[in-house]
Amino acid sequence: MEKNEKELAQLIQEISGLNPKKCMKCGKCSGACPAFHEMEYHPHQFVDMVDRGDVNRLLESKSIWMCLTCFACVERCPRDVKPANFIEAARLALIRQQGCNHLKDEAVPPLLDEEMPQQAIVSAYRKFKK
């Protein structure tokens, strides 16, 4: 079932388990982010958009796929907000919306190669189960 925007924002918060209200809009995350210039919306904006329930623009944007999950923002944030976790949650929310899967599970094995770390495979399959 299609969720409305507010519900989606709620879902993103739930998946992340975090509180965007703790953000004091200092911008240290965006000052730290190595992928800043690749993004349309920046780490401090992700947090704000989730907080305000303005997430459709975010989910449609390429920005969320540009995050390297390097956790520079998480590490430096003085308020313990963890912007990258919101980004990850946004990705998950989007995947779930698309019939719960980004890929069909049959499509996965051919994509695997020798060098793929075990952990990545496990974590990918865990997402299918959700």
Binding site: C26, G27, G31, A32, F36, P78, R79
Partner: protein, 662 residues
């Protein structure tokens, strides 16, 4: 049988909106011993108090119960009311039906029932109350000030001005604190030394003030009006009364590579040193960790060059015991360590400095003689980046959760001074918020922007990377929604401040309370801001919370006024609700002595009669009523039930519990 009066207060709608006060008064009137019961809008008002007094006289009351707010609020008021009507103050009991009832409940029926129960408990207690008379204790007319920064200096000067003796205990070789280190002061930009050093000289010359420099308070015993402190005068290996402060020894000492703490380790000093030219007392001190003579008996140069003969390598720590009526804590602050903030490259590059280091770099008496030079290569910096809130407002565990309050203003000061002295510099300030409340403060910050052309950028530095002698500063510009990369020559971190590391041990010594950040807590955040909740202990300066010099000085004078108010009294009224031991039941086990936080309990051997005309000697406890604060810890610890607290006896408390459970 007591004749008890019950007075139920509405507290406007604070109580009356949730508790049926009429019903409470009616129900409590039925309790045994209650001969009068009423309710009124504001019991604490003039007319409310009058009503109580009239009832005491008219109904010959021997005890009263006031159902009202917390006893912390008005117990003293109602005790006075009773005393004025001829009833002993300690025949008054308060049932707290506001904080413990109306404010925390919604259902009126239940709240009313609870208020009745609380009233019953108080009535049960009054039945067992006995009149108590407060004793008196003398006041020692001398004050101790711990810490000789601007806060301690101002407090001491004001107390001395009122004619009382004051001792300042300062752990460093000189008084002056952080203010002696800073260059110019906001918002007027007058030189800190020019306004501080005359005060330091006043302290030195004041006959009523004694400075124990290079000293620490070892222990404090006693109570308000009568503290006994042991002061440890650390060996400085120089006779304080002989040294003339000529400084010859400091020129000749061969140990020249000792990091200079006064200059924030930006340069070196000798093993024998005087922190700065205007130090008070101006006396040399030998650093025992650096002196070759003290470490391995080789050298002795200073003793040879000192014409006054002041050097004494055999000096020992000295302990001085002194009595005080009041103690003022003025232990100040330090900037935090930056170990948790690798992103700013503080440990990687000498050109990344803290704000206090920057003060020294700008100071004419500092390591560079006041010329701003990069610590790495002593060249003139062209681009400077200031970062605000470094380690402040941080709940991630790396820094401090509070705003350090002074850094917005001193950063504006630094930026402005930089642009004024060196118009060829580009100065950037990264801020989260600019917080400049205070007289002429916002105007000051706006001047930095409008007249001095400082670039204020709303955003935060995420990373500083040293590269080819420069500092690559990556930061966000939130208003432009951009990420900037600035090639800077120096980065200045507005480092958070924290209480001095000795604060917690001082607090324990004084049984004064502190908050989770180790700032001393005031007795009331609004109405008693310079007193600690512990009687006789006062707070001055940053040890109580971040503040700038104007605020520090105001608070210092306020603390002095409170101390003077105490010292002018010849005697203090003691709290009569103190512990008392029943010698017949005491078995001398020492359990009570171990738990007493005030050291009020002592033991003595006493002769007791036994059957057949014999006697035995037994060890029994006795309580010094002037020292006991009535905390009751001993009454709980006593295994034989010999300790009891006057006014809060075990019987009284059990009667209250019974009344509640009935």
């Amino acid at each position: 049988m007591q004749r008890i009066g019950v007075f139920v207060c509405w507290c406007g709608s604070n109580i009356a909106a949730t508790v049926d006060v009429q019903q409470v008064a009616d129900e409590l009137a039925k309790e045994p011993g209650v001969v009068y019961s009423t309710n009124y809008q504001y019991m604490c008002s003039q007319s409310g108090q009058q009503m109580i007094q009239e009832a005491i006289k008219e109904h010959h009351l021997t005890g009263i119960v006031i159902c009202s707010c917390s006893p912390r609020m008005h117990e003293a008021t109602f005790r006075k009311t009773a005393a004025a009507a001829g009833l002993n103050s300690y025949m008054v009991e308060i049932a707290n039906i506001r904080e413990q009832c109306s404010w925390i409940h919604k259902n009126k029926e239940e709240a009313t029932e609870k208020a009745i129960i609380l009233g019953r408990a108080a009535i049960a207690k009054v039945h067992l109350n006995a009149p108590l008379t407060a004793g008196e204790s003398p006041v020692v007319k001398r004050a101790l000030v711990i810490g000789g920064g601007i806060a301690g200096i101002q407090t001491a000067l004001d107390i001395a001005d009122a004619g009382f003796e004051v001792d300042i205990v300062e752990k460093k070789p000189t008084i002056g604190g952080k203010m002696a280190q800073i260059d110019k002061t906001f918002p007027t930009l007058d030189c800190a030394a020019c306004i501080l050093t005359p005060k330091m000289v006043d302290v030195a010359q004041n006959e009523k003030i004694h400075i124990y420099s290079y000293s620490e308070v070892e222990s404090v015993k006693g109570f308000v009006g009568n503290f006994t402190a042991t002061i440890k005068k650390k060996a400085r290996y120089v006779k304080e009364d002989v040294c003339t402060g000529c400084g010859l020894c400091t020129e000749k000492c061969p140990m020249k590579k000792v990091p200079n703490e006064f200059n924030q380790m930006l340069d070196n000093r000798t093993a024998i040193y005087i922190p700065f030219a205007q130090a008070v007392p101006k006396v040399a001190t030998i650093d025992p960790n650096a002196c070759m003579m003290l470490k391995n008996g080789k050298c002795g140069v200073c003793s040879k060059v000192c014409t006054a003969g002041a050097i004494d390598y055999t000096q020992k720590d000295e302990y001085i015991e002194q009595q005080y009526g009041a103690i003022v804590v003025a232990t100040g602050f330090n900037t935090i360590k930056l170990d948790n903030f690798d992103e700013f490259a503080y440990s990687q590059s000498p050109d990344v400095v803290t704000s206090l280091e920057f003060e020294r770099l700008m100071n004419a008496a500092g390591p560079t003689g006041g010329t701003l030079l990069r610590p790495s290569d002593h060249t003139h910096p062209h681009t400077l980046v200031f970062v605000q809130c470094v380690g402040s407002r941080d709940i991630s565990g790396c820094g401090k959760p509070y705003c350090s309050k002074i850094c917005c203003m001193y950063t504006a000061k630094h930026a402005m001074l930089c642009r004024e002295k060196y118009p060829d510099t580009e100065v950037y300030v990264f801020y989260i918020d600019v917080r400049t409340p205070g007289k002429n403060f916002d105007e000051f910050y706006r001047r930095a922007v409008e007249e001095y052309g400082v670039h204020y950028i709303k955003g935060m530095v995420g990373k500083v990377a040293p590269k080819d002698g420069k500092l690559m500063v990556q930061a966000s510009d939130l208003l432009a929604n951009d990420q900037l990369l600035i090639e800077a020559d120096m980065v200045v971190l507005a480092t958070a401040i924290e209480p001095d590391e000795s604060a917690r041990s001082i607090a324990t010594m004084l049984t004064a309370s502190m908050d989770t950040n180790d700032f001393f807590t005031e007795a009331h955040p609004k109405l008693r801001p310079v007193e600690s909740p512990t009687a006789g202990i006062f707070l001055s300066g940053v040890c109580q919370g971040p503040k700038d010099i104007p605020e520090t000085v105001s608070q210092a004078s306020a603390a002095a006024a409170k101390v003077i108010g105490l010292l002018v009294k010849d005697k203090l009224t003691c709290n009569p609700c103190v512990a008392e031991s029943n010698e017949l039941m005491c078995n001398g086990c020492s359990a009570c002595e171990k738990v007493c936080p005030y050291g009020a309990i002592t033991y003595s051997d006493k002769e007791f009669r036994t059957p057949y005309r014999t006697t035995i000697m037994r060890r029994v406890a006795s309580v010094n009523p002037a020292v006991c604060q009535g905390c009751g810890a001993c009454t709980v610890a006593c295994p034989s039930g010999a300790m009891d607290l006057k006014g809060f006896s075990t019987r009284q408390i059990m009667a209250e519990v019974d009344a509640i459970c009935k």
